[in-house]
Amino acid sequence: MYDRKTNRETDVVDRAAQALRATPVPEPPRHVLEAVLAAESSEAAKRRPRTLKQRIIEMRPSIKAGAAVVVLAVAVGLWAFLTVGGGGATITWADVQREIREARTLTFTATMEQNGVPAMVVRGMAKGTVSRQEMSKPYEMIVIMDIAKKKVLSIETKEKTAVLTSISQLPEAARKRLEEGDYFGHLKKLIEKAGVEIGEKTIDGRQAKGYRVGKGGRIEMTLWADAKTGHPIVMEFLQYGGRVKTVIKDFELDKKLDDSLFSFQPPEGFELIKLDLKSARTEDMTAFLRLWVDARKGTFPDTLSEVEWIKDCVDAVDKLSKELPKEQLQELLETLGRARLFLQLHPDRYGYAGKGVKMGDAKTPVFWFCPDGETTYIVVYGDLSTKAGVPAKDLPKPPATKPAPAS
């Protein structure tokens, strides 16, 4: 029914809005635009946009504590590939084998490169099952691991924070992955594998003999050893089709290493944070996803890579760390740590398809994972509801490619 009065009144609002829209507008005041440009340029000199590495470096200590769990996984990841398979045949590098097999201590320098750009340098040392890794930027941490005692100490010297992580409550499978951090043990195992002799060359004035293991596989290793003594000179690992390269050199065997280097006593004046790392639960995963989606204003991230996480969530977690009481903050860090460590340790036991999905989409599966000790999967939907007991054959189709983990 036509309502003459309402129509007239509507016209009043519309006509008024039209009149306002038609208001002639002069040119913007130049002095204002110049002032805001000057404000930015003077600030910019002092505060350039932070790079990803800077964002990590500038994390608050409590956030670094959460990151320490991931550093642990990175530390393990550096060495996990030492398990590369080879044949069981006798090899020609018996001298190399003996050199390493009989050594009691080992020190080295590892440089990781991503796409040809140095990403991190690690100074490593090992004594029995205890190891110490001094990591450069972006982590800038010292990580001490005692595989036998199932504990890890991450020391952040700039922020004077030490995070003691117990892995004793992790299920067997996850713990075994972490125990791959016993890189000295792995190196000893590796040299028992077969290698293909690839020739000789001079490195730093020393005649070196080269061996290759794992060619054509997921990871390829080349070792150059002193042609006379069998002492290792350089080891190179290529991963992800050559995009990630790790070069290990400066090997020293049987160097005297003081026990204090492997002490689990935090340096004096350091704040000690204890984390008990248990198996990731469904609630950990959903809380982790919720925080991430909130930080992205309701949209699931494109991937679950560590780099994406840092880009999206560092500021959000930092903000929460200022607001939450200490106990809740501890709980949050443990929750996030469990979830992120699961992703780092078990890339083969989860799938993700959340790219572009909006929070609240109850029909779209965004994430699925097989918890430690389980044989079926838990599927998480876009509204963070879950469905347990899903067999692998009924899982959603994963995306075509899975991103390389952050290095």
Partner: protein, 170 residues
């Protein structure tokens, strides 16, 4: 963070237009613009800005409404009609021009009397002509809520504009 000079040169004009049309006073609009641009600069340092134009127009609208409300409080103590109708309109004839200026002034005054969220939604939709979706995104609302707020704002504005017409002293 985006390239700031590019943001200012590309979107500064639209932000200025928003501030100027709503406030109708060049000095106050200039203050509002400066305040908003500096606020947007701070926001861009904390988070990625995807829609600069919508963000700046939202901030300008919000800040300008705030200034209109303050102006209304001052006006209630000492009302100066010129403060609300000082900007001439672009219409060709002097009578139409005067009518449009008077209507604009009344609308500014009426907007200042709306609840802030209703006022913001009305301005973004009916003055800035943003889509429901963009308004919802800027204000963190559902599009259905935008519709409800807009409906309420328009109903209240009808009342205010009608009563203002009948009672010019307001």
């Amino acid at each position: 963070m985006a390239d700031w000079p590019t943001v200012v040169s590309r979107h500064g004009q639209a932000a200025w237009q928003t501030a100027y049309r709503l406030l109708g006073d060049p000095d106050e609009a200039a203050d509002c613009l400066q305040e908003v641009l500096l606020e947007a600069l701070e926001i861009s340092r904390r988070q990625r800005v995807r829609h600069w134009s919508a963000l700046l127009r939202h901030l300008c609208t919000y800040r300008a409404i705030d200034r209109l409300r303050r102006r209304l409080r001052r006006a209630e103590d000492h009302w100066d009609p010129a403060e609300w109708t000082g900007v001439p309109c672009n219409d060709p004839g002097p009578v139409e021009q005067a009518e449009a200026a008077e209507l604009s002034g009344r609308l500014r005054r009426a907007i200042a009397q709306l609840p802030p969220q209703q006022a913001t939604v009305f301005c973004l939709r009916c003055i800035e002509e943003l889509s429901y979706r963009d308004i919802a995104r800027q204000l963190g609302l559902r599009t259905s809520n935008v519709g409800v707020l807009l409906h309420r704002a328009r109903a209240r504005l009808r009342e205010l504009l009608s009563s203002a017409k009948e009672s010019p002293a307001v």
